[in-house]
Symmetry: C2
Subunit: 345 residues, 2 copies
C-alpha cells in the first residue's frame, strides 16, 4: 500500500504461465518474482483495485464473524450497484473469482485462511482419529461412505489425535474406494484409504499434505492408466500450474505413483477385456505431460508414457477386477506395494 | 422362465415413456403393464437374453459373497470373450447398464438389493443417530462436512437408532448446505439438513424416503429458482421418468417445495443483484415442466412457473445472502417454514 499523497496501489504477483517455474529443490511448481502493481489513480486499474479491496473487506468480515463462505457466496456478498450509478461492483462470478486469487497471492495466504471455501469432495477411512469442528471422529468407524473430507481442513478446524496407519493409499474414484473399504483394505494393511472423486478438491489435497507432513505418512496414489491419471498424479505431487502459488502448502512432492502402469497389462497378464483404445486427444495429452519439466528428465516416466502410446490403449483401475472382484485389493495393490521397482516417483 | 422343451424366455416390463404413467392416488410415476418377452431361441434376442443371465449370475455371486460392485465393476466382471470366438459378451458399459435395469424391473428389485451401487453423493447433519455398516453414528457430531450418505442405504446396511428431529430440510448444493451447517440451523430448528450435490443420487433419495417413512419426518426442499430446481423437486417428490419403476421406493410424494419461489423477489424485497436472465433453454424447460401431468392441474405450480417466465429471470438460493450472510438461515427459511401459504405442494 502507499503512503500519504501517493497513489494507492496493491502489488499482486503475476499469475501467468510465464511467471511459473518448477523448483527442482522443493519439487513443487511455484511462482516467479514478477509482480503487477494495481493502482487506484489509473483508469484501467481503478475498478479492479476497488474490487480487490471490496473482496478483501468481505473476507475480513468473514474472519471477524467466524464464518466461512463459498466463492459464489463471496460474489453475492460483494455484488451491489454503486450508489447514484447503474454500475455494478461485479457483473459475474468470473470477475470475483480471479480477485480472490489475487488476494491469496498478494497476502500469501490460502483462500481457506481467508474463510473462503470451494466445493468439497472426497472421503477417507482408516486408523486415524481426528477432531473436526470439535467432534472427535474415528475414521475407522465412520460407516460405509467413510469420513467426509470438508473443504476447509486447516489446523484451527482439524486436529489429528491418534494415528496407527503406516501409509495413505489415495485412489481416483469413489467407486474404487468403496471396493477397498468393503474389502477392509485399511484394516489388513494398516493404512488410510482416501479418494478425491476424480481430480481431488483443495480440501482433500491439503489434508493429504497435512497427514503426510504431520503424521509422517507416505502417500501412494492409484489412478487410471490414462493421461488424466498422470495429470492427477502431477497435481497431487507438484501442484497445479494454474494455481502455482498454493503448491507450497498443497503439494506432496514425495507421493509415489503405484499404478495402473502401462506395463501392468503384460506384467499382470490381463485379458484384452481391459483395453480402451486411446483417442487423438489422449495421445496429444500424453505427449504434453511427457514434456512437463518435472517428467521430462525422469527416464521411468518417459518409458511409462511411451509404453502407453505404444500400447495404443488405456486401462482403468476398475478393469483390474475383471480377473476377480478381489484381485485389485487382494493381489494387485499388495504386489505393487511390495515391489519398489514398480513404483514411479 | 420356461418349462421343459419350451423356449427359455424372460419377461421384462417395458422401460419406455409409452409405458410410464402418473399414479394419481399414490402420487408417484410408475410403469404400466406392458412387458416384452426376451427369448433364447430368437436370433435378435439371444444375445440380450444371455447378457441378462450373465449379469444376473454376477449379482447372485455378489450377494452370495456379501460384496457389492459399481455398475462399471459389474461391466468388467461380466465382460469376456466367448470361447472359440472373437465375440465379447459386452463391448461397452452402455450395453450392461440397461441389462441391470432390465433385471431390476424383471424381478421387481432395486439395484442396491442386487448389491450394485451407483456413485455416492450427499451429506447430512442433525439430531439423528444411525448405525451404518455396524458403526453407530451421531449425525449431530460428524464434523464440518457431516455424515457422508453412502450409495447403498437399505435396512441391512443402515438402521435408525434415535431421532429427535422434527423435519428434514433438503438443499440442492453442498455450498448452501455448509451455510446451514455452519449457522447451526439443525440445532436451532431441531431438524436434519441434507444436500444431494445437485440432482440427488439414488442413495440420498432412498434415505430421504426411508427417514420420511420410518421416522415420520416431513421433507422440505430448498432449491434454486430455475427449471432445474423444479425438476429436482419433481424427481424427489414423484420419481424420475427414466427410472419410473424405482419411484415406488424412492419418491417422497409428500415433499414440500419451500423455495426459492419466483414470487420471493418481490415478497422478500430482493435487489436486482440476484437476477440471472432466463435463456431460451430455461424457457423451453420451464414450459415442459409446467406440462408434466403432476404439475399440469396444480394452480399454484402453474402460477409459480408462469411467474418465472414473466420475471424473465431466475434466482439461486445463494443469492439470498446478498442481503446478509445469515439472511438465508436466520430469516428467509424460518419465514418460509412458518408461512404455510407459501409452500408449494
Amino acid at each position: 500500500m502507499a503512503g500519504r499523497k501517493e497513489d494507492p496501489a496493491i502489488a499482486v504477483p503475476t499469475r501467468a504461465l510465464s511467471n511459473v517455474r518448477f523448483n527442482e529443490e522443493s519439487r513443487h511448481i511455484e511462482m516467479g518474482e514478477n509482480k503487477q502493481s494495481r493502482n487506484f489513480f489509473n483508469y484501467g486499474q481503478a475498478k479492479r483495485f476497488m474490487q480487490t479491496l471490496l473482496v478483501a473487506s468481505k473476507c475480513k468480515e468473514l474472519i471477524d464473524r467466524d464464518k466461512t463462505a463459498s466463492i459464489r457466496q463471496v460474489y453475492y456478498l460483494s455484488k451491489h450497484t454503486i450508489k447514484g450509478t447503474k454500475e455494478k461492483t461485479f457483473d459475474d462470478q468470473s470477475e470475483s473469482d480471479p480477485v480472490i486469487e489475487d488476494l491469496e497471492v498478494a497476502i500469501d495466504s490460502l483462500r481457506e485462511e481467508l474463510h473462503v471455501f470451494a466445493s468439497n469432495r472426497g472421503n477417507m477411512a482408516g486408523p486415524v482419529t481426528l477432531v473436526d469442528a470439535g467432534n472427535t471422529l474415528d475414521c475407522a468407524a465412520m460407516g460405509s461412505a467413510g469420513y467426509a473430507v470438508p473443504s476447509i481442513v486447516e489446523a484451527d478446524v482439524i486436529q489429528f489425535k491418534k494415528c496407527s496407519a503406516k501409509f495413505i493409499l489415495h485412489v481416483e474414484k469413489d467407486t474404487v474406494w468403496r471396493r477397498f473399504h468393503e474389502d477392509r483394505f485399511w484394516e489388513t494393511h494398516r493404512c488410510i484409504i482416501s479418494h478425491g472423486g476424480g481430480q481431488p478438491a483443495r480440501g482433500m489435497r491439503r489434508l493429504l499434505r497435512r497427514m503426510h507432513e504431520e503424521l509422517k505418512l507416505p502417500v501412494f496414489v492409484l489412478l487410471d492408466n490414462d493421461p488424466w491419471g498422470y495429470y492427477i498424479y502431477s497435481v497431487i505431487k507438484h501442484g497445479s500450474i494454474n494455481l502455482a502459488y498454493e503448491s507450497r502448502r498443497m503439494a506432496v512432492p514425495d507421493a509415489v505413483f503405484l499404478g495402473v502402469s502401462s506395463f501392468d497389462y503384460e506384467r499382470c497378464e490381463m485379458s484384452d477385456d481391459v483395453k480402451i483404445e486411446l483417442d487423438a486427444n489422449d495421445i496429444k495429452r500424453a505427449k504434453q505431460i511427457a514434456n512437463y519439466p518435472w517428467f521430462a528428465d525422469k527416464r521411468p516416466w518417459q518409458k511409462e508414457i511411451r509404453k502407453m502410446l505404444a500400447n495404443g490403449f488405456k486401462m482403468e483401475v476398475e478393469a483390474m477386477i475383471s480377473k476377480d472382484l478381489e484381485y485389485l485389493t487382494g493381489e494387485y495393490v499388495p504386489m505393487k506395494l511390495k515391489d519398489k521397482k514398480q513404483w514411479l516417483d
